[in-house]
């Protein structure tokens, strides 16, 4: 049994949500059963992802070939430290969302298929993290996209339809660009396996098609991740969805784009040559700055937070722009910290909505007195997002900004510090308006926030505190993960080692 689990560790984070989605869809008429199955599935997925992380930690990169086809012919699944950590952290977030859903998801939303779609989204996200085949990555992006389209239009309100149109058109456009990049890359190299591409590409003569392909990858993932001139779909749509969907989107979707960007631009294309670095640096600077400016003029908590997603993506891309191992480690740390904190802030926004009945800061107020616990639970992720020591955001920001000063891009480090200041401004705006100010409405009846909402918020807050007070293990982990990422040789060796084991002749 342990051997079997060890052999299939790579498949369970995918198979469990897929099976759960099927069970939830089969139990369409029974919301209670769907809820139970969904929670069980999420717990099992988390267990499976921890198992995967454990085997990656003990034996290095784990690979799996499908259909007994030797690489590079079959589809491979690969988990290195970075992808295993991403799977674990997204499973944690999904479980938190599943618990939050007990209190928040309405019967009508279950009837609209919340649970199967949510599990379907997790299939897509985990698939995108684990695949080792560039075309397969495209397929997982599409799986993710169709599930998110169902989730974003869950209530079918006018605002959701409006947001969904923009979301759908721009994201579909980005996946088609991604497909075009794959087509051109295939035309030049004749292979789709990422490890094989990493092996073949350094020996391939540079050509226009390759440059165009690299730029298209950057553009496609840039739209997905919400880079500076391409992010407009994000603040147009995220705040319209129901809060739990917004939280999961905020935590995971853009990060899948970022993850893909890191994969492609460490494994396939060198950031250092071909002038990709200055472009990424320009994108990162603009993303940080304009995201935080956008947040400054908003009144709606969800819209403020949506703009902050964009701003924080800029910090992560900073890691890729600097491209030293130190910066990569900072980026890995930043992604993990950001997924936890950002989703938590959206959960808190849901709790504020539950307590005051509004997301609009002009109408909210008085929460400091009426629910002090919520105030504390808001402060943890908010200060962490702004980078106040000793919370996790401080270490994340410290790592990337330190790397930028040590590298050759001090100007972008200075910009990042300035943006941190504006982030404090945004967070204090929420704090002053929703918590300090007396409620502007005369008969403000403050409702109690259910335990099922507070538990995930507190749990994610605890993770933030744990990372903040004891960053050393995660920093060490991020350093090793970055070292594996920046050295494709290990990745290639791991995938092609399968060949001898399978005993197949190429």
């Amino acid at each position: 049994m342990p051997e079997f689990m060890n052999d299939t560790a790579l498949l369970w984070p995918l198979a469990i949500p897929l099976a759960t989605a099927a069970i939830c869809a089969a139990a369409w008429a029974y919301p209670r059963a769907q809820q139970g199955a969904s929670l069980a599935g999420l717990v099992l997925t988390l267990a499976a992802s921890l198992l995967l992380l454990d085997s990656v930690m003990s034996q290095g990169i784990v690979t799996k070939q499908f259909g007994g086809w030797a690489p590079p012919f079959g589809i491979s699944f690969v988990a290195d430290r970075f992808s295993a950590a991403m799977v674990v952290i997204s499973s944690v977030l999904a479980l938190a969302a599943g618990i939050f859903a007990i209190a928040d998801v309405r019967r009508r939303q279950v009837k609209a298929g919340f649970y199967p779609l949510f599990q379907g989204l997790m299939v897509g996200v985990n698939g995108a993290f684990l695949t080792g085949d560039i075309f397969n990555l495209y397929v997982w992006f599409e799986v993710m996209l169709i599930a998110t389209l169902g989730l974003i239009t869950l209530d079918r309100t006018r605002a959701q339809l409006d947001g969904a149109i923009k979301y759908a058109v721009l994201n579909l456009f980005s996946t088609i660009l991604f497909l075009m990049a794959i087509g051109l890359l295939y035309g030049v190299t004749g292979t789709l396996n990422m490890a094989d591409l990493a092996r073949v590409l350094p020996q391939t003569e540079g050509s226009v098609a390759l440059t165009v392909s690299a730029m298209l990858f950057l553009l496609a993932f840039g739209i997905k991740a919400g880079f500076f001139p391409l992010f407009f779909w994000l603040p147009a749509s995220y705040h319209t969805a129901t809060i739990i969907v917004s939280a999961v989107f905020a935590g995971l979707l853009t990060k899948v784009g970022v993850y893909a960007c890191f994969r492609v631009f460490t494994l396939l294309f060198e950031v250092n040559d071909g002038g990709i670095r200055p472009i990424v640096a320009f994108f990162a600077a603009g993303t940080m700055l304009f995201g935080v400016f956008g947040a400054a003029i908003q009144w709606d908590i969800r819209r403020i937070l949506s703009f902050h997603i964009i701003s924080q993506i800029g910090y992560i891309m900073l890691g890729l722009a600097i491209a030293t191992p130190l910066a990569m480690a900072g980026a890995v740390f930043y992604i993990i910290h950001h997924i936890v904190v950002k989703a938590n802030l959206f959960f808190v926004a849901g709790a504020i909505h539950r307590a005051t009945g509004t997301y609009d800061l002009r109408k909210a107020g008085g929460l400091m007195k009426s629910s002090p616990l919520l105030a504390v639970l808001f402060l943890i992720p908010a200060l962490s997002l702004a980078g106040i020591p000793p919370l996790s955001g401080f270490w994340a920001k410290f790592m990337v900004i330190d790397a930028s000063f040590r590298g050759d891009m001090a100007w972008i480090g200075a910009l990042a510090l300035f943006v941190g200041l504006l982030t404090v401004f945004s967070m204090s705006k929420i704090w002053i308006e929703a918590f300090w100010k007396t409620s502007p409405r005369k008969v403000a009846r403050v409702r109690a926030v259910p335990v099922a909402m507070l538990v995930p918020i507190a749990a994610l807050g605890l993770i933030t505190l744990a990372i903040g007070f004891n960053p050393e293990p995660l920093v060490a982990f991020a350093n090793v993960a970055a070292a594996t990422m920046t050295d494709p040789a290990e990745f290639i060796a791991a995938v092609f080692a399968e060949r001898q084991i399978a005993g197949a002749t190429p």
């Binding site: 239009t153 923009k166 058109v169 579909l172 075009m180 295939y186 035309g187 030049v188 705006k429």
Partner: protein
């Protein structure tokens, strides 16, 4: 053959980008559909157009002999067609529903999610 296909692909891109720049959602959708097909043609052309010899290994041999057709681009395109078809169907329904609910197919008038003329945030405390 490749030259003719390349010209066709270019034409597809031109048409689709022109359509996608429209304000009307239905034209944008048609543009996206054509854009998807243009990309499919790109993959087909990038995979080298070789005719007539099916890629089947003869009995008793271990490898293909000579130049044969490349089956992989067609497998990729087939996958992409299935996916883009389902997305197109979904988008058509979404656009129709949005037209019913919002009463317009002009993206300039779709300002429900981001209303215009919101008040300024506090300028000081």
């Amino acid at each position: 053959m490749e030259t003719a296909l390349t010209g066709l692909v270019g034409l597809f891109y031109a048409v689709s980008i022109y359509m996608m720049l429209s304000k009307h959602i239905i034209r944008v959708l048609l543009g996206i559909a054509i854009f998807g097909n243009a990309v499919n043609m790109t993959i087909f052309t990038a995979g080298r157009v070789l005719r007539e010899v099916p890629p089947i290994i003869a009995e008793g041999r271990t490898a293909l002999d000579g130049v044969t057709a490349n089956p992989l681009p067609q497998a990729l395109i087939l996958t992409a067609i299935v996916i883009s078809f389902s997305f197109f169907a979904f988008l058509l329904v979404l656009a129709y529903r949005a037209y019913q609910e919002l009463g317009t197919d002009n993206t300039d008038e779709m300002r429900i999610a981001e209303p215009e003329g919101e008040g300024l945030p506090p300028l000081g405390y």
